[in-house]
Symmetry: C2
Subunit: 255 residues, 2 copies
Protein backbone atom coordinates (compact mmCIF):
# COMPACT_ATOMS: atom_id res chain seq x y z
CA UNK A 1 0.00 0.00 0.00
CA UNK A 2 1.19 3.49 -0.84
CA UNK A 3 2.20 5.49 2.20
CA UNK A 4 -0.08 8.46 2.89
CA UNK A 5 1.18 11.95 2.08
CA UNK A 6 0.99 13.98 5.28
CA UNK A 7 1.22 17.78 5.45
CA UNK A 8 2.45 19.11 8.80
CA UNK A 9 2.00 22.72 9.84
CA UNK A 10 1.46 24.88 12.94
CA UNK A 11 1.24 28.46 14.15
CA UNK A 12 4.12 28.65 16.61
CA UNK A 13 6.65 28.53 13.78
CA UNK A 14 8.71 25.77 12.22
CA UNK A 15 11.23 25.60 15.06
CA UNK A 16 8.71 25.21 17.88
CA UNK A 17 9.16 22.06 20.00
CA UNK A 18 5.48 21.21 19.44
CA UNK A 19 5.82 20.81 15.67
CA UNK A 20 9.17 19.02 16.03
CA UNK A 21 7.43 16.43 18.24
CA UNK A 22 4.55 16.13 15.79
CA UNK A 23 6.96 15.57 12.88
CA UNK A 24 8.72 12.92 14.91
CA UNK A 25 5.43 11.14 15.59
CA UNK A 26 4.14 11.16 12.01
CA UNK A 27 7.42 10.36 10.26
CA UNK A 28 6.74 6.61 10.58
CA UNK A 29 3.19 6.96 9.26
CA UNK A 30 3.74 8.33 5.78
CA UNK A 31 5.58 10.63 3.45
CA UNK A 32 6.00 13.90 5.33
CA UNK A 33 6.02 17.44 3.97
CA UNK A 34 6.32 20.26 6.48
CA UNK A 35 5.22 23.77 5.51
CA UNK A 36 5.14 26.00 8.56
CA UNK A 37 5.44 29.70 9.35
CA UNK A 38 8.96 31.12 9.65
CA UNK A 39 7.89 33.02 12.78
CA UNK A 40 5.25 32.66 15.52
CA UNK A 41 1.69 33.33 14.28
CA UNK A 42 -0.35 32.81 17.43
CA UNK A 43 -3.83 34.35 17.57
CA UNK A 44 -3.76 35.02 13.84
CA UNK A 45 -7.21 33.51 13.44
CA UNK A 46 -8.02 32.69 9.84
CA UNK A 47 -5.96 35.57 8.43
CA UNK A 48 -4.54 35.19 4.94
CA UNK A 49 -2.02 37.34 3.10
CA UNK A 50 -3.74 39.21 0.30
CA UNK A 51 -1.99 42.58 0.33
CA UNK A 52 1.56 41.36 0.56
CA UNK A 53 3.90 38.83 -0.99
CA UNK A 54 4.68 35.35 0.31
CA UNK A 55 8.05 33.68 0.40
CA UNK A 56 8.88 30.03 0.91
CA UNK A 57 12.28 28.66 1.74
CA UNK A 58 13.23 24.99 1.50
CA UNK A 59 15.22 23.76 4.45
CA UNK A 60 18.14 21.55 3.45
CA UNK A 61 18.38 18.32 5.39
CA UNK A 62 19.97 14.90 5.18
CA UNK A 63 16.66 13.27 6.02
CA UNK A 64 15.25 12.25 2.65
CA UNK A 65 12.01 11.05 4.26
CA UNK A 66 10.96 14.55 5.27
CA UNK A 67 10.79 17.72 3.18
CA UNK A 68 10.54 21.00 5.04
CA UNK A 69 9.65 24.51 3.95
CA UNK A 70 9.25 27.65 5.97
CA UNK A 71 6.80 30.26 4.77
CA UNK A 72 6.58 33.99 5.49
CA UNK A 73 2.78 33.87 5.79
CA UNK A 74 0.06 32.87 8.19
CA UNK A 75 -0.91 29.25 9.04
CA UNK A 76 -3.76 29.37 6.49
CA UNK A 77 -1.31 30.69 3.88
CA UNK A 78 0.99 27.72 4.60
CA UNK A 79 -1.75 25.23 3.77
CA UNK A 80 -2.76 27.08 0.60
CA UNK A 81 0.78 27.37 -0.74
CA UNK A 82 1.62 23.81 0.31
CA UNK A 83 -1.27 22.36 -1.64
CA UNK A 84 -0.95 24.56 -4.70
CA UNK A 85 2.76 25.24 -5.14
CA UNK A 86 4.75 22.71 -3.13
CA UNK A 87 2.81 19.44 -3.25
CA UNK A 88 0.76 20.10 -6.40
CA UNK A 89 -1.47 17.25 -5.18
CA UNK A 90 -3.92 17.01 -2.32
CA UNK A 91 -2.26 15.41 0.72
CA UNK A 92 -4.00 12.48 2.40
CA UNK A 93 -3.88 14.17 5.78
CA UNK A 94 -3.01 17.51 7.36
CA UNK A 95 -1.88 17.75 10.97
CA UNK A 96 -1.39 21.10 12.67
CA UNK A 97 0.41 21.75 15.97
CA UNK A 98 1.17 20.56 18.49
CA UNK A 99 0.24 23.99 19.76
CA UNK A 100 1.85 25.40 22.87
CA UNK A 101 -1.39 26.29 24.66
CA UNK A 102 -4.99 25.03 24.53
CA UNK A 103 -7.34 25.82 21.65
CA UNK A 104 -10.46 24.58 23.37
CA UNK A 105 -13.77 26.41 23.49
CA UNK A 106 -13.84 29.91 21.95
CA UNK A 107 -10.05 29.87 21.51
CA UNK A 108 -10.64 27.99 18.27
CA UNK A 109 -11.73 31.27 16.64
CA UNK A 110 -8.46 33.03 17.44
CA UNK A 111 -6.27 30.01 16.83
CA UNK A 112 -3.76 29.89 14.01
CA UNK A 113 -3.27 26.15 14.63
CA UNK A 114 -6.94 25.48 13.99
CA UNK A 115 -7.17 27.94 11.08
CA UNK A 116 -4.55 25.85 9.27
CA UNK A 117 -6.46 22.66 10.05
CA UNK A 118 -9.76 24.23 8.94
CA UNK A 119 -8.17 25.58 5.75
CA UNK A 120 -7.12 22.02 4.90
CA UNK A 121 -10.65 20.84 5.71
CA UNK A 122 -12.10 23.38 3.27
CA UNK A 123 -9.84 21.86 0.63
CA UNK A 124 -11.27 18.44 1.38
CA UNK A 125 -8.16 17.19 3.19
CA UNK A 126 -8.77 15.13 6.37
CA UNK A 127 -7.34 17.36 9.03
CA UNK A 128 -6.52 17.50 12.74
CA UNK A 129 -5.33 20.31 14.99
CA UNK A 130 -3.46 19.31 18.17
CA UNK A 131 -2.92 21.55 21.17
CA UNK A 132 -1.47 21.00 24.63
CA UNK A 133 -2.77 23.07 27.54
CA UNK A 134 0.71 24.39 28.34
CA UNK A 135 1.94 27.68 26.89
CA UNK A 136 5.54 27.02 27.84
CA UNK A 137 8.15 26.62 25.11
CA UNK A 138 9.42 23.77 27.30
CA UNK A 139 6.02 22.04 27.48
CA UNK A 140 6.37 18.28 27.94
CA UNK A 141 5.03 16.81 24.69
CA UNK A 142 6.48 13.36 25.50
CA UNK A 143 3.51 12.65 27.76
CA UNK A 144 0.99 12.79 24.92
CA UNK A 145 2.91 11.07 22.09
CA UNK A 146 1.01 7.75 22.07
CA UNK A 147 -2.36 9.55 22.07
CA UNK A 148 -1.40 11.79 19.15
CA UNK A 149 -0.26 8.73 17.18
CA UNK A 150 -3.43 6.79 18.02
CA UNK A 151 -5.74 9.63 16.94
CA UNK A 152 -3.88 10.08 13.63
CA UNK A 153 -4.03 6.34 12.94
CA UNK A 154 -7.77 6.30 13.65
CA UNK A 155 -8.34 9.21 11.24
CA UNK A 156 -6.28 7.49 8.55
CA UNK A 157 -8.22 4.25 8.92
CA UNK A 158 -11.78 5.55 9.56
CA UNK A 159 -11.88 8.68 7.39
CA UNK A 160 -13.50 11.80 8.75
CA UNK A 161 -17.09 12.76 7.92
CA UNK A 162 -17.27 15.22 5.01
CA UNK A 163 -16.50 18.80 6.05
CA UNK A 164 -15.40 17.81 9.57
CA UNK A 165 -12.04 18.73 11.15
CA UNK A 166 -10.85 17.53 14.56
CA UNK A 167 -9.85 19.96 17.30
CA UNK A 168 -7.83 17.89 19.76
CA UNK A 169 -6.73 19.33 23.09
CA UNK A 170 -4.58 17.65 25.72
CA UNK A 171 -4.59 18.41 29.43
CA UNK A 172 -1.24 19.21 31.01
CA UNK A 173 -0.86 15.88 32.79
CA UNK A 174 1.48 12.97 33.03
CA UNK A 175 0.71 10.10 30.66
CA UNK A 176 -0.57 7.84 33.43
CA UNK A 177 -2.82 10.59 34.80
CA UNK A 178 -4.71 11.01 31.50
CA UNK A 179 -8.07 9.27 31.88
CA UNK A 180 -8.88 8.81 28.21
CA UNK A 181 -10.38 10.57 25.21
CA UNK A 182 -13.79 12.26 25.05
CA UNK A 183 -15.68 13.42 21.95
CA UNK A 184 -17.04 16.81 22.99
CA UNK A 185 -18.83 19.93 21.93
CA UNK A 186 -17.17 23.36 22.07
CA UNK A 187 -17.82 24.93 25.49
CA UNK A 188 -19.54 28.31 25.49
CA UNK A 189 -16.92 30.33 27.28
CA UNK A 190 -15.29 33.68 26.65
CA UNK A 191 -12.67 36.08 27.87
CA UNK A 192 -13.22 38.70 30.47
CA UNK A 193 -10.77 41.10 28.92
CA UNK A 194 -8.64 43.55 30.79
CA UNK A 195 -6.56 46.14 29.01
CA UNK A 196 -3.35 47.07 30.76
CA UNK A 197 -2.90 50.80 30.09
CA UNK A 198 0.66 52.09 30.01
CA UNK A 199 2.55 55.20 28.94
CA UNK A 200 5.39 55.08 26.44
CA UNK A 201 8.74 56.82 27.05
CA UNK A 202 7.37 59.52 24.77
CA UNK A 203 4.26 60.13 26.85
CA UNK A 204 1.80 58.29 24.62
CA UNK A 205 -0.76 55.93 26.09
CA UNK A 206 -0.90 52.36 24.83
CA UNK A 207 -2.55 49.09 25.85
CA UNK A 208 -1.77 45.42 26.27
CA UNK A 209 -4.64 43.03 25.87
CA UNK A 210 -4.92 40.62 28.76
CA UNK A 211 -7.79 38.96 30.52
CA UNK A 212 -9.24 35.95 32.14
CA UNK A 213 -10.89 32.95 30.51
CA UNK A 214 -14.36 32.45 31.94
CA UNK A 215 -16.31 29.25 31.36
CA UNK A 216 -19.99 29.78 32.12
CA UNK A 217 -20.95 26.53 30.39
CA UNK A 218 -21.91 23.96 33.01
CA UNK A 219 -22.27 21.11 30.51
CA UNK A 220 -20.32 17.89 31.11
CA UNK A 221 -20.16 17.22 27.36
CA UNK A 222 -17.80 20.14 26.62
CA UNK A 223 -14.10 20.28 25.82
CA UNK A 224 -13.49 22.44 28.89
CA UNK A 225 -15.12 19.87 31.15
CA UNK A 226 -13.06 17.06 29.61
CA UNK A 227 -9.75 18.90 30.00
CA UNK A 228 -10.55 19.94 33.56
CA UNK A 229 -11.40 16.34 34.45
CA UNK A 230 -8.28 14.72 33.05
CA UNK A 231 -9.48 13.75 29.58
CA UNK A 232 -8.23 14.55 26.10
CA UNK A 233 -10.97 16.47 24.26
CA UNK A 234 -11.83 15.97 20.60
CA UNK A 235 -14.32 18.42 19.12
CA UNK A 236 -15.49 17.73 15.56
CA UNK A 237 -15.49 21.14 13.89
CA UNK A 238 -17.20 22.47 10.78
CA UNK A 239 -16.67 25.55 8.60
CA UNK A 240 -20.35 26.07 7.88
CA UNK A 241 -21.07 28.83 10.37
CA UNK A 242 -24.78 28.99 9.52
CA UNK A 243 -27.00 29.01 12.61
CA UNK A 244 -29.48 26.75 10.84
CA UNK A 245 -31.81 26.75 13.85
CA UNK A 246 -32.30 30.53 13.50
CA UNK A 247 -33.41 30.58 9.86
CA UNK A 248 -37.05 29.83 10.62
CA UNK A 249 -37.28 32.57 13.24
CA UNK A 250 -35.68 35.17 10.97
CA UNK A 251 -38.15 34.28 8.26
CA UNK A 252 -40.95 35.57 10.52
CA UNK A 253 -39.35 39.04 10.58
CA UNK A 254 -40.80 41.86 8.51
CA UNK A 255 -37.90 42.15 6.08
CA UNK B 1 -37.17 55.79 25.51
CA UNK B 2 -33.42 55.87 25.80
CA UNK B 3 -31.66 55.85 22.45
CA UNK B 4 -29.67 52.66 21.82
CA UNK B 5 -25.89 52.80 22.08
CA UNK B 6 -24.50 51.62 18.74
CA UNK B 7 -20.87 50.58 18.15
CA UNK B 8 -19.72 50.95 14.55
CA UNK B 9 -16.61 49.24 13.21
CA UNK B 10 -15.21 47.71 10.02
CA UNK B 11 -12.09 46.18 8.49
CA UNK B 12 -11.36 48.58 5.64
CA UNK B 13 -10.29 51.30 8.07
CA UNK B 14 -12.01 54.29 9.60
CA UNK B 15 -11.79 56.42 6.46
CA UNK B 16 -13.35 53.89 4.08
CA UNK B 17 -16.46 55.13 2.25
CA UNK B 18 -18.32 52.02 3.43
CA UNK B 19 -18.07 52.86 7.12
CA UNK B 20 -18.75 56.53 6.48
CA UNK B 21 -22.04 55.52 4.81
CA UNK B 22 -22.88 53.16 7.68
CA UNK B 23 -22.23 55.92 10.26
CA UNK B 24 -24.46 58.24 8.28
CA UNK B 25 -27.26 55.64 8.26
CA UNK B 26 -27.13 54.79 11.98
CA UNK B 27 -26.61 58.32 13.30
CA UNK B 28 -30.38 58.87 13.46
CA UNK B 29 -30.97 55.57 15.23
CA UNK B 30 -29.03 55.98 18.45
CA UNK B 31 -25.96 57.22 20.23
CA UNK B 32 -23.02 56.35 17.99
CA UNK B 33 -19.49 55.36 18.96
CA UNK B 34 -17.10 54.46 16.16
CA UNK B 35 -14.01 52.36 16.91
CA UNK B 36 -12.38 51.25 13.69
CA UNK B 37 -8.91 50.24 12.48
CA UNK B 38 -6.54 53.04 11.54
CA UNK B 39 -5.53 51.09 8.42
CA UNK B 40 -7.09 48.45 6.15
CA UNK B 41 -7.38 45.03 7.80
CA UNK B 42 -8.97 42.95 5.05
CA UNK B 43 -8.63 39.17 5.24
CA UNK B 44 -7.44 39.39 8.85
CA UNK B 45 -9.88 36.68 9.88
CA UNK B 46 -10.37 36.57 13.63
CA UNK B 47 -6.83 37.70 14.42
CA UNK B 48 -6.23 39.53 17.70
CA UNK B 49 -3.16 41.38 18.92
CA UNK B 50 -1.53 39.43 21.73
CA UNK B 51 2.17 39.98 21.10
CA UNK B 52 2.09 43.70 20.50
CA UNK B 53 0.65 46.88 21.94
CA UNK B 54 -2.55 48.62 20.91
CA UNK B 55 -3.10 52.31 20.52
CA UNK B 56 -6.34 54.23 20.26
CA UNK B 57 -6.69 57.80 19.10
CA UNK B 58 -9.80 59.93 19.57
CA UNK B 59 -10.76 61.89 16.50
CA UNK B 60 -11.78 65.45 17.30
CA UNK B 61 -15.02 66.51 15.68
CA UNK B 62 -17.70 69.16 16.00
CA UNK B 63 -20.39 66.50 15.85
CA UNK B 64 -21.30 65.86 19.48
CA UNK B 65 -23.66 63.04 18.47
CA UNK B 66 -20.86 60.81 17.27
CA UNK B 67 -17.63 59.83 19.02
CA UNK B 68 -14.89 58.31 16.89
CA UNK B 69 -11.72 56.46 17.72
CA UNK B 70 -9.18 54.85 15.48
CA UNK B 71 -7.32 51.81 16.74
CA UNK B 72 -3.99 50.31 15.70
CA UNK B 73 -5.32 46.74 15.95
CA UNK B 74 -7.46 44.26 14.08
CA UNK B 75 -11.26 44.46 13.76
CA UNK B 76 -11.68 42.00 16.66
CA UNK B 77 -9.31 44.15 18.75
CA UNK B 78 -11.48 47.19 18.01
CA UNK B 79 -14.55 45.51 19.48
CA UNK B 80 -12.66 44.29 22.55
CA UNK B 81 -11.10 47.67 23.33
CA UNK B 82 -14.34 49.51 22.54
CA UNK B 83 -16.32 47.48 25.03
CA UNK B 84 -13.72 47.36 27.77
CA UNK B 85 -11.86 50.67 27.60
CA UNK B 86 -13.90 53.16 25.60
CA UNK B 87 -17.56 52.43 26.33
CA UNK B 88 -17.13 50.62 29.66
CA UNK B 89 -20.68 49.34 29.08
CA UNK B 90 -22.07 46.80 26.63
CA UNK B 91 -23.49 48.58 23.57
CA UNK B 92 -27.04 47.72 22.46
CA UNK B 93 -25.90 46.92 18.94
CA UNK B 94 -22.71 46.48 16.92
CA UNK B 95 -22.66 47.09 13.17
CA UNK B 96 -19.59 46.29 11.09
CA UNK B 97 -18.91 47.42 7.52
CA UNK B 98 -20.14 48.26 5.05
CA UNK B 99 -17.38 46.13 3.58
CA UNK B 100 -16.02 46.88 0.13
CA UNK B 101 -16.45 43.35 -1.26
CA UNK B 102 -18.73 40.40 -0.49
CA UNK B 103 -18.30 38.22 2.61
CA UNK B 104 -20.69 35.53 1.50
CA UNK B 105 -20.02 31.79 1.69
CA UNK B 106 -16.54 30.75 2.84
CA UNK B 107 -15.33 34.36 2.74
CA UNK B 108 -16.80 34.76 6.20
CA UNK B 109 -13.84 32.82 7.62
CA UNK B 110 -11.28 35.24 6.18
CA UNK B 111 -13.35 38.35 6.79
CA UNK B 112 -12.27 41.06 9.20
CA UNK B 113 -15.72 42.66 8.91
CA UNK B 114 -17.39 39.50 10.14
CA UNK B 115 -14.74 38.78 12.79
CA UNK B 116 -15.63 42.12 14.42
CA UNK B 117 -19.33 41.28 14.24
CA UNK B 118 -18.71 37.79 15.65
CA UNK B 119 -16.50 39.17 18.43
CA UNK B 120 -19.40 41.40 19.47
CA UNK B 121 -21.71 38.39 19.31
CA UNK B 122 -19.43 36.45 21.65
CA UNK B 123 -19.78 39.36 24.09
CA UNK B 124 -23.55 39.03 23.92
CA UNK B 125 -24.01 42.18 21.81
CA UNK B 126 -26.59 41.94 18.98
CA UNK B 127 -24.44 42.29 15.94
CA UNK B 128 -24.60 42.63 12.13
CA UNK B 129 -21.90 42.60 9.45
CA UNK B 130 -22.72 44.36 6.16
CA UNK B 131 -20.88 43.81 2.90
CA UNK B 132 -21.43 45.00 -0.66
CA UNK B 133 -20.31 42.81 -3.56
CA UNK B 134 -18.11 45.56 -4.97
CA UNK B 135 -14.43 45.77 -4.07
CA UNK B 136 -14.05 49.29 -5.46
CA UNK B 137 -13.24 52.15 -3.09
CA UNK B 138 -15.84 54.06 -5.14
CA UNK B 139 -18.56 51.39 -4.66
CA UNK B 140 -22.04 52.94 -4.77
CA UNK B 141 -23.37 52.47 -1.23
CA UNK B 142 -26.26 54.88 -1.87
CA UNK B 143 -28.19 52.09 -3.60
CA UNK B 144 -28.43 49.97 -0.45
CA UNK B 145 -29.04 52.63 2.22
CA UNK B 146 -32.75 51.93 2.86
CA UNK B 147 -32.10 48.18 3.16
CA UNK B 148 -29.28 48.66 5.68
CA UNK B 149 -31.51 50.92 7.76
CA UNK B 150 -34.44 48.50 7.58
CA UNK B 151 -32.33 45.51 8.69
CA UNK B 152 -30.87 47.45 11.63
CA UNK B 153 -34.33 48.59 12.73
CA UNK B 154 -35.62 45.02 12.58
CA UNK B 155 -32.73 43.78 14.72
CA UNK B 156 -33.32 46.58 17.24
CA UNK B 157 -37.02 45.77 17.51
CA UNK B 158 -36.99 41.94 17.25
CA UNK B 159 -33.76 41.04 19.07
CA UNK B 160 -31.53 38.34 17.64
CA UNK B 161 -31.63 34.75 18.89
CA UNK B 162 -28.96 34.09 21.53
CA UNK B 163 -25.50 33.54 20.01
CA UNK B 164 -26.59 34.50 16.50
CA UNK B 165 -24.92 37.19 14.37
CA UNK B 166 -26.17 38.36 10.97
CA UNK B 167 -23.96 38.22 7.88
CA UNK B 168 -25.63 40.55 5.38
CA UNK B 169 -24.42 40.76 1.78
CA UNK B 170 -25.70 43.06 -0.93
CA UNK B 171 -25.53 42.41 -4.67
CA UNK B 172 -23.96 45.15 -6.80
CA UNK B 173 -27.22 46.39 -8.25
CA UNK B 174 -29.27 49.53 -8.52
CA UNK B 175 -31.86 49.98 -5.77
CA UNK B 176 -34.77 49.23 -8.10
CA UNK B 177 -33.10 46.09 -9.41
CA UNK B 178 -32.82 44.50 -5.94
CA UNK B 179 -35.57 41.88 -5.65
CA UNK B 180 -35.71 41.65 -1.87
CA UNK B 181 -34.09 39.98 1.13
CA UNK B 182 -33.53 36.24 1.61
CA UNK B 183 -32.60 34.42 4.81
CA UNK B 184 -29.98 31.92 3.63
CA UNK B 185 -27.45 29.32 4.62
CA UNK B 186 -23.73 29.73 3.90
CA UNK B 187 -22.95 28.26 0.45
CA UNK B 188 -20.33 25.54 0.36
CA UNK B 189 -17.88 27.17 -1.99
CA UNK B 190 -14.12 27.65 -1.96
CA UNK B 191 -11.24 29.22 -3.77
CA UNK B 192 -9.31 27.59 -6.53
CA UNK B 193 -6.08 29.26 -5.60
CA UNK B 194 -3.37 30.28 -7.99
CA UNK B 195 -0.05 31.56 -6.82
CA UNK B 196 1.57 34.10 -9.10
CA UNK B 197 5.30 33.37 -8.88
CA UNK B 198 7.63 36.33 -9.45
CA UNK B 199 11.28 37.19 -8.99
CA UNK B 200 12.43 40.16 -6.92
CA UNK B 201 15.03 42.68 -8.20
CA UNK B 202 17.48 40.73 -6.03
CA UNK B 203 16.76 37.39 -7.68
CA UNK B 204 14.58 35.92 -4.93
CA UNK B 205 11.36 34.14 -5.78
CA UNK B 206 8.14 35.28 -4.16
CA UNK B 207 4.41 34.69 -4.60
CA UNK B 208 1.16 36.59 -4.75
CA UNK B 209 -1.93 34.69 -3.69
CA UNK B 210 -4.68 34.92 -6.25
CA UNK B 211 -7.40 32.58 -7.36
CA UNK B 212 -10.91 32.05 -8.46
CA UNK B 213 -14.00 31.66 -6.31
CA UNK B 214 -15.75 28.40 -7.17
CA UNK B 215 -19.30 27.67 -5.98
CA UNK B 216 -20.03 23.98 -6.27
CA UNK B 217 -23.13 24.30 -4.08
CA UNK B 218 -26.22 23.96 -6.27
CA UNK B 219 -28.67 24.82 -3.47
CA UNK B 220 -31.15 27.65 -3.99
CA UNK B 221 -31.19 28.41 -0.26
CA UNK B 222 -27.62 29.74 -0.17
CA UNK B 223 -26.21 33.25 0.08
CA UNK B 224 -24.43 32.79 -3.25
CA UNK B 225 -27.69 31.88 -4.98
CA UNK B 226 -29.46 34.89 -3.48
CA UNK B 227 -26.75 37.35 -4.53
CA UNK B 228 -26.54 35.90 -8.03
CA UNK B 229 -30.30 36.18 -8.42
CA UNK B 230 -30.66 39.78 -7.33
CA UNK B 231 -31.44 39.32 -3.63
CA UNK B 232 -29.82 40.62 -0.47
CA UNK B 233 -28.59 37.60 1.54
CA UNK B 234 -28.81 37.33 5.32
CA UNK B 235 -27.07 34.33 6.89
CA UNK B 236 -27.57 33.84 10.64
CA UNK B 237 -24.13 32.90 11.93
CA UNK B 238 -22.96 31.17 15.11
CA UNK B 239 -19.59 30.89 16.84
CA UNK B 240 -20.15 27.34 18.04
CA UNK B 241 -18.13 25.50 15.40
CA UNK B 242 -19.01 22.04 16.75
CA UNK B 243 -20.12 19.64 14.03
CA UNK B 244 -22.78 18.23 16.36
CA UNK B 245 -23.92 15.72 13.74
CA UNK B 246 -20.47 14.08 13.76
CA UNK B 247 -20.26 13.39 17.49
CA UNK B 248 -22.20 10.15 17.34
CA UNK B 249 -20.08 8.76 14.49
CA UNK B 250 -16.81 9.63 16.25
CA UNK B 251 -18.03 7.88 19.35
CA UNK B 252 -18.00 4.60 17.40
CA UNK B 253 -14.25 4.94 16.76
CA UNK B 254 -11.77 2.88 18.71
CA UNK B 255 -10.25 5.77 20.66
Amino acid sequence: MKKPLILVTNDDGINAPGIRTLIDIVKELGEIVVVAPDSPQSAMGHAITVNDTLQIHKIESDNTQITEYMCSGTPADCVKIAKNEILKVKPDLCVSGINHGANSSINILYSGTMSAAIEAGIEGIPSIGFSLADFSWKADFEQIRPFVKKIIEEVLSNNLPDGVILNVNFPKLKREEIKGIKICRQARAKYQEKFDKRVSPFGKEYYWLSGEFVNEDKGEDTDEWALKNGYISIVPVQFDLTAHHAIQQLNTWNL
